[in-house]
Amino acid sequence: MTVEREIVRTPILPQDLAANPVLSRWVTVHPGGTVDVRVGKVELGQGILTALAQIAAEELGVDLEQVRMQPANTARGPNEGGTSGSMSIIHSGSAVRAACAQVRAKFAAEAALRWGVGPDRVTVRQGVIRCDERTMSYGELAGVVDLDVPADPCGPLGGDRPALVGKSAARLDLPDKIAGRPRYIHDLDLPGQLSGRVLRPPSPGATLLHVDEGRLADLDVQLVRDGSFVGVVGADEAEVMRAVKVLRDATTWEESDSLPDEDDLSTFLRSGPHETIEVLIPEGPPPGGHTIQATYSRPFLAHGSMAPSCGIARWNDDGTLSVWSHSQGIHGLGAAIARALDIDVERIEVEHAENAGCYGHNGADDAAFDAVLLARDVPGRPVQVQWSRQDELAWSPLASAMSADVRAVVDDSGSVLSWRYDVWSQGHTSRPGYLGVPGLLAGAYLERPLRYPAPADPPAASGAGTVRNGVPIYDFPDRGVTGHRLLETPIRTSAMRALGAYMNVFAIESFMDELALSAGADPLEYRLRHLGDARGQTVLETAARAAGWGTPVEEGVGLGIGFARYKDKGAYCAVVAEVEAESDIRLRRLTIAVDVGMVVNPDGVRNQIEGGATQAASWTLKERVRFDRRRITSDDWESYPILRFSEAPEVSVEIVEAPGVPSVGAGEAAQGPTAAAIANAVAAAVGVRVRDLPLTTDAVVAAIEASGD
């Protein structure tokens, strides 16, 4: 007997479309033929809106020029959560694809109805709906097709029209930005807009005792104070800036030491109390072998966006609140403001406005909240708050310092029998709304302070934080991985590009080289020996081949390799660094291979990998947040130096094709492998291992001298 079964697709919409099913939330077709596309993801300088526009144009069957990507808005657009973790192309990409495929099907069906033909005879290309000789445009049907309807789980989900996707498209936003046309939140000039500045306390533990208001009498500004939160508002930005300088001298504060010893962060991180995160519980090592171990660390790091944070807010006459922010999560920001001020979230509208590159949870949300607090005293008027460079570097959330112990038992051939990894860190998120608190900087300084607890970690399903990429990709017989998240800290840390993965991959991949050296093996061969993952092998071999791995190098030059699969299920990335160690440490070149699954915009992927690797080189070679026991002291570009043009390495990127494999993000994949590759190249060049970041020339020289003792 045979049973006939009809094979049907499980009727499931992509998660972001399922959460925001009404098609008109995503797409509006105008009579002139242009199509507005609204998404919940935001442009952070990574080019996501261009990639999503490519997908929209492809599925709608229109030219890229017809698509107008709209700024994310809590009231008008879909809620897709935050823009982080290299998830945009996965979540928003599939939702836009399905929404636009369904819109196209509706327009095609309407045309078919009018022509009295079957919908399967209708094609849509370059904005023209066609059946034989009959044509119609999107615009002609704009007022007819109803998009105020939910997406159909059994309807088309797209993905079968590869026309634009896979080809490099020029970024849609760059012409304005290169020409210098107004585009950033700093450039917004709303009717009646005022300028605001906040005077941050002299140190995080400070309390405002007194303000000598008379000192501001000659200045055309309004003072705003709530507890230890103090700022000024006025019509002329330059006047407001002068006023905040005067205000600094006109305020009296009580200060106290609250920060740990910067020169002994390892002790600070390991002193606890901790949350223990058991990632892999070991089964117990096989008998025999000998043990090798090492300890690695990184300092606190700053986002260092080129533009200081900025926010705009207006309290409207009808009791609603309008906010403009470059936040990564406008819905989370709106909810946090509502919670902080005890107002209905429905009365708050947050619109995204572009700013300089954002690499994680920086000061954007805090600046928006500053604007909300200052604007409260001037109802009906928008107030634009601009942070200073000093505030940006000293008061934005930092990326946590971390410390890790790695221990391996190896057999006679040097292969790993057993692996143990322990990492200590602060949490990697304090995004607005975390742990049920608003988590906005100014909140802690109000008359009725809104305290925030120690930073948390994202859940494992979102890639975790402290232990992100803590599990090595290699097939060791026995593995144990444990994270230790610090539960009490005076330092506010949050998400920065790759979170814990940068440090964990640095430690794991540095240690792999140490093991290879101990085994007398080539580092590439040693990795491949332990690696069963075929895509991983291809990426490693591709990078090595492109870098000329195995050919002799000059005296004083070293090659090093670093490799990981981001978040264990994202992009594969292998980096080969070429370092010259003569009078100083110079990073000459990074040769990178990456597999991101199906590629939407190849040049976009290259740009993200190049930029990520260059930024990781800056963290690795130069960066360290400095502080004394009272305040952060690295608050300008001299005290917090970053990579300069003369230090930027040549970067080449090979994309390993993986057609048919779903796309994963590219923005964070290179961070950890780059750090490890540089560290391994330095070790190869000078013969001495440096395990504490940053790998400055001074640190390398100190290690060489110590090794000679």
Binding site: S305, A356, N607, E610, V651
Partner: protein, 164 residues
């Protein structure tokens, strides 16, 4: 406390009434609506606010109005007289040599000035000049490639219209 200052901006004579300590950057952005020069650090350390003043590349955030009186200023908006982009800007666009783009106008002013005063600038000279500009997204090498391309595409040496 305000004073009137007269200067030439992008070939146009302008009069700005402001406090003498107001920075040229804020005068350009807020009084003249020129948003191309950008606020990055306020200390002249990042280059996002670079403009050309009497032929020299200066940090407008660090230039008080009292010192700009009577000067000739060119912002990124004025690099190319008339419509269109300066060849350096066009090359930056062609090479997609920007991610967030915030630093790029200051870089364009600096690189355009270099090529106009030293049309044969080689890679070393370009990198040396641009060492005053910071970029956090990591597009430095793309920028250098773009400027080299702009150099090779310019057959003739253009005298800066604002040279003194």
């Amino acid at each position: 406390m305000t004073q009137a200052f007269e200067l030439t901006v992008n070939g146009r004579q302008v009069r700005i009434e402001t406090h003498p300590d107001t920075s040229l950057l804020h005068a350009l952005r807020n009084e003249l609506g020129l948003k191309g020069p950008r606020f990055g650090c306020g200390l002249g350390l990042c280059g996002a606010c670079f403009v050309r003043m009497d032929g020299q590349v200066v940090a407008s955030c660090d230039t008080p109005m009292w010192s700009a009186e009577g000067r000739t200023v060119v912002t990124v908006e004025g690099l190319e007289p008339g419509e269109g982009l300066h060849r350096v800007q066009q090359a930056l666009l062609d090479e997609q040599a920007a991610q967030c783009g915030f630093c790029i106008t200051g870089i364009a002013v600096n690189a355009a000035t270099l090529l106009e005063t030293n049309p044969d600038a080689d890679e070393e000279a370009i990198v040396e000049a641009l060492d005053r500009n910071l970029c956090r997204c990591g597009v430095q090498r793309r920028v250098v490639r773009a400027v080299l391309k702009a150099r090779s595409e310019s057959a003739c040496h253009v005298t800066p219209e604002d040279a003194v």
